[in-house]
Symmetry: C2
Subunit: 452 residues, 2 copies
Amino acid sequence: MMPAQARIADTEKPRILIIGGGFAGLELAKALRRADAQVVLIDRTNYHTFQPLLYQVSTAGIEDSSIIYPFRKIFEDQRNLYFRLAEVQSVDTEKRMVETSIGLLHYDYLVIATGAETNYHGNEQIGQKAIPMKDVEDAIALRNTILTNFEKALQIEDEELLNSLMDYVIVGGGPTGVELAGALSELRRHVFPKDYKELDFIKMDIHLIQSGPQLLKGMSEEASRKSLQYLEDFGVKVWLNRRVKSYDGHTVTLDSGETIISRTVIWAAGVAGALPEGLRKESIGKGNRLMVDEYNRVAGYENVFAIGDIAAMITEEYPEGHPMMAQPAMQQGRLLGKNLMRLMAGAAPQRFAYNDKGAMATIGRNHAVADLKIARREYRTQGFLAWLIWTFIHLISIVGFRNRLWVFFNWAVNYFSYNSAMRLIVGKKKENMPAEAVTPKTEVGIGSGDRR
Amino acid sequence: MMPAQARIADTEKPRILIIGGGFAGLELAKALRRADAQVVLIDRTNYHTFQPLLYQVSTAGIEDSSIIYPFRKIFEDQRNLYFRLAEVQSVDTEKRMVETSIGLLHYDYLVIATGAETNYHGNEQIGQKAIPMKDVEDAIALRNTILTNFEKALQIEDEELLNSLMDYVIVGGGPTGVELAGALSELRRHVFPKDYKELDFIKMDIHLIQSGPQLLKGMSEEASRKSLQYLEDFGVKVWLNRRVKSYDGHTVTLDSGETIISRTVIWAAGVAGALPEGLRKESIGKGNRLMVDEYNRVAGYENVFAIGDIAAMITEEYPEGHPMMAQPAMQQGRLLGKNLMRLMAGAAPQRFAYNDKGAMATIGRNHAVADLKIARREYRTQGFLAWLIWTFIHLISIVGFRNRLWVFFNWAVNYFSYNSAMRLIVGKKKENMPAEAVTPKTEVGIGSGDRR
């Protein structure tokens, strides 16, 4: 089972190389803590991101450091783990070597846990003008953009220009899109009118565009229906059965021919596997995911594995692979950890069986939808109870004691005060409004009487 | 006293325009909360920065959001205040108009509170290669740079290259330079060796360069001497009576002819007033500061004032103006608020008298130097007691309840664990090491046996 290969220097142990420290890679690395191997984890950031709460960073609910956690701190006491900050360029499975931004790395076992990346379906213009929602730098850029929009809006007299700055389009009716739309509508109702007393928030429209006939595809019919109802109650304009055809930084054109004007389009739709180069084409399936067997071994390879969003394990129950969520990723990571140790010991690996615990999404304060599976029985709930469950599960899931306590404290304060102090513009932002439009060489009106 | 001038629309009240929301501008704006005027505060960021703790952000001790606070939240309930996110381009005192990035703004009273900016004394190359320490974006860039240096260092075999990445040069022996040097030496001793077990931190040198014969110029002789002693105890190499002549991203050349090799030079020396264009040359004094009378009125103007670091109020006791610190700035801001109200009411203004409460600086955990003045009596203390006083005063000074509590919590956790989770690389960084140097096309060694 162990490949015969030269080891580096005195490192006689086999090297397990994990690409990506998301939910899957992180759980795998932890599960290998007692492995008699050199575990090398590479990632392009030096921290793990708790992605389910990204939307809260982008809506100024919590700070970025509450949902990201340095790998070196997570693995402080794991002696067999080596972290490297690096980007993968390609894989050479013949030479068992990965080319990265820091040089070449050999492996005995390779685990690809690179997750998914934003997919604009080849539409480059959308990619340039829209804001993606995959990592914490995206979320910070979105937060900065939203706040900058309102700061600019204060100077604008022209109604059409003003509307283009105050309106938001969210593309994608999955959990991220729904949660983002809910959080934005909360800000519109409770927070922004206090911060920007001179602006009229009746003018702020929030559009949510979903390609299919229902929101939260993959969840129960009740969850889809209730989430739609909550969003509509909150004044979000939900467009079902529509796809975005183009976006030029000003006009969103839908496949139905309808158009929406907005300077800010948030892309929470369509992801595709973030594949490194060099793997055989036959192993790559729909959505750029790697076809894996029930041990998460990539089709056609002996010692290359894939886990999490990048892996498509086709089964009778999951003909398109498992949902691209934290739970399957974590479970695959944990099992692969055990299986690699079994393989190295010459024992037989164990098949993966997904323990589906359900799914949920929150829509603003006090509202969530949850489809829970406990001991193979389904429980569906919507509203306040679902929100409490959502809150509880997300709190206990966050990595690290400090973060958990702090996120909780932050939430508690925000919950009672409707007022966080996170509305900070620090770092990059997206500016689709031409500068001339907002910097007139005429005198600026300030104060209620000035605005017509 | 009130200038006869057209008001905008129905805004019949005189407009007080404050440029800059640092300590001086913030206190002034608050002091004007009952003024029968339209108070307009402009700043190029949407938050106030608690500058004394910047060095803690740059050394991953606390997160940026703990020391910055949105203006709109600070002034939520102040009805006469209007905040605008804008950069000032020039002032036209004839027309009583300020040109900004958002358009023209008229004023009845203008208050310049633009503070100081980093001054490289005309040496552009240093400006391009060094990292300044004036705002939170600088501090984040420094944090990212330090962490990225060590991540890169893991791949480097060449001793000279390695040393250039692991060595730090801090220019300027004022409070910022001293506190930064102390914090870096703490990280070297307690934190980095845990994070980067493969690196040998004996190799990490910290240099502090001070132009004069003592550190913390302006403080007592004991404070200077003790801070030097603490830093030397912590292994910081202090260079007194040296100036930096040039820096090319690799070699620091001192005026003595000596050289130090480092990829990371932090510029905490030399600031100059951040003056807008358009003011008469006769009003500008040494270090680009505006000459003001004892009412903080700029020489030669009736309705233009300057407060804080940008203002030089020459008195017998302060022949070079007041020290560029938070205390004089805040006191000037507060008094000018009262004086503007007096002026508008036709009453006589009150002269500024600086209530010097002393100065202090902290050098790592448990060590600080403090020269306190209480009821005109001086108390000098160094060591642990000074550190407790420093901590207490900084905690109670931070704006906003949430920040105070959070900074305290953070500090407490760090104090007992020597371990914060802030070691995150998010946002921009400075990279003086050529990419080729750290991305060999050869195999990378990982693990103790690999490093020669």
